[in-house]
Symmetry: C2
Subunit: 377 residues, 2 copies
């Protein structure tokens, strides 16, 4: 079939899978690059180029086959993506957006320059500069690697000179910066889409709950005041404009005790905190991303249910995947499950997620947690 | 990944495609039989056995690979399915359910025996018996082939002896029966699911609108009184019990001027009149079918929107598929589109569908019709 064209995705994991599931009904073909065969995306009909995500030859091949190139992960070769784009295949989000986000220090600087509220931060040059920052930030701060950190990796909370020494030793010669610790009451997130035409659409403000630095639970809508909600939405829209390129972006935020909303981090792609949109919203974040990068009009982002809670299904052991208890999960009213088809399972590997919808957030959360307990994976 | 198992589907068209899209997130593998490669189902990740649907070898191969065998079309070899089932692979709906439905005359007889209201009907043995029936049915009736008719094929309205002669000539030596014409005010449909455990769940009553005997529009919920709604739901539940086996079934009905609800026809499978459930209901008819045949608990069938209208995208010409106007469709609020990935396009071939959701049926219908006009296919 002609008409819609081909979407090329760098990465074929669960995000690539859900992007594929959204792209197919719109009439698109999908090709992904994935380091191993039978990726979650390939299992739902994406063609697969089996190669390292940094492989320039594979990226060229992807660009050759695709009308629109996009990503499901930001840890990749932004320069190679720029080359593709210069040769004529549109890449969204753009290489420069990805580059900006890859360097968390530059990301924070850009946000600050755009008058988007962020926590205090500064570069760590050496032990001395770190010790000075620790004093400035009140005796407690996080040292972070500028590149490559995720799910808490590449972060270390320090409270003393000896902590700083440990961090510098651990991170070796990697570029570092430090952030003041924000005494937040809640972590919030907003998915925001920006189309290649400049159209912007925000999703509801949600609360995210982390454990061991991994997002485990998302509450929709976030139990916050209308004032906070509007602040968060306004910030998300501003960030989308700042980034300039197209796609769906996850904006992670802190809500402080005195009602301030600070941006913590940006994901230049569909995001775990937006998985709920598949069952809870008129247009999912995945369909929205495809629409955004392909220049199609953005869809209605409103909720079709009063409340939803998403819970991740993280691997509980190392070994072949064996999902049990699904029948028990589906007995619970308003609960759905998505398993990503990954094998093997590993401790804390994202294997799937559960979404519960209900009339109240409280009931949805109760049902989601109850459902999660039934799954053995 | 282990755990869920493999679903085998006889047929890989749009219904197989949407069943596959629903089965994958639940952790199932999917295998389909389809006469040509790159079927709509294979495009979303179903493995494909390329063979005629009547090929007994292909059916045996399907049974070997699958834990649960099901169908997306009722025109197939019910006896071969029975053999598979006897050899140990569960087939749902069962071969006997399919056989009953394949013969429209037996279907009607069974409904009547179960005290489910149907229009007057009787077997056509020869010209004489047909002429007598025409008198009995008030001078106007439909002669139908007992087997193999769909979308109006195998049906002929007769009003005279010479019409009858024409019909008998057209249908040759095929087994026939005649039905009185029901002066209906609306055509209704209810999707109903019955699980292998006997659990039954009905979907909302919808109005279906046909053109050239093809379903073109579905209005959700049907604009009927609560009394009619309850009647239709009760009939659907009774039919599910009558059929006995598992799956999602489409029950097509007539609503008469004086408020009677008669069953017109049963589809022993997911059905065009239930496509709206993908965006409008908590659990789609496709996920429900997978749950039903795999012995998983049935899902919540309630609407998550006040109103929805589904419009089929039928091919407008013969030739390679070239879907245009999708961007115009997606501009309309609350409208989504599903293209089935079929090529070539043919006049009246089902190429995709549009679903519009809105606060009122009137608005949804306006948006759906407006959207349909934008598509060139």
């Amino acid at each position: 079939m002609q008409g819609a064209g081909t979407i090329g995705i760098v990465g074929g994991g669960q995000l690539g899978r859900m992007l594929t599931l959204a792209a197919k009904p719109l009439g698109f073909h999908v090709v992904v690059i994935n380091p191993s065969p039978n990726s979650p995306a390939a299992q739902v009909g994406a063609e697969e180029i089996v190669a390292d995500l940094y492989d320039p030859k594979a990226l060229r091949e992807l660009a050759k086959r695709a009308d629109h190139v996009t990503i499901e992960i930001e840890h990749l070769d932004a320069k190679a993506l720029e080359t593709i784009s210069k040769k004529g295949t549109p890449v969204n989000p753009s290489a420069s957006t990805i580059q900006l986000i890859q360097d968390k220090f530059l990301q924070k600087q850009a946000l600050k320059a755009w008058h988007i509220p962020v926590s205090d931060f500064d570069a760590v040059i050496n032990e001395d500069s770190a010790v000075k920052l620790l004093k400035r930030f009140g005796g407690k701060m996080i040292i972070k690697t500028r590149h490559g950190g995720y799910d808490g990796r590449g972060n270390m909370v320090v409270m003393s000179k000896s902590d700083i020494q440990k961090a510098l030793k651990l991170f070796g010669d990697r570029q570092l910066y430090a952030e003041a610790i924000v005494p937040f009451t809640e972590e919030l997130a907003v998915m925001v889409a920006r189309s290649v035409t400049g159209q912007v659409a925000t999703y509801p403000v949600v609360e995210t709950i982390h454990k061991r630095n991994i997002c485990i639970e998302v509450l929709v809508p976030a139990p916050v005041s209308p004032v906070v909600r509007r602040k968060a939405e306004k910030i998300a829209t501003k960030v989308a404009d700042l980034l300039g390129s197209a796609g769906t972006f996850g904006i992670e935020m802190f809500l402080t005790k005195n009602g301030k909303v600070l941006v913590n981090e940006i994901a230049p792609r569909v995001h775990n905190s937006g998985h709920y949109t598949v069952v809870a919203n008129r247009t999912s974040q995945f369909e929205q991303h495809i629409r955004a990068i392909a220049g199609l009009p953005l869809g209605d982002t409103s909720l079709v249910v009063p409340a939803a809670v998403m819970i991740n299904i993280l691997g509980e052991r190392d070994g072949p995947t064996l999902a049990e208890g699904i029948d028990e999960v589906l007995k619970i009213p308003g609960v759905s499950i998505h398993l990503y088809g990954k094998s093997p399972t590993k401790i804390d590997r994202k294997m799937g997620h559960i979404t519960a919808t209900s009339r109240t957030l409280q009931q949805a959360r109760k049902n989601a947690r109850n459902a999660r307990k039934k799954v053995v994976i």
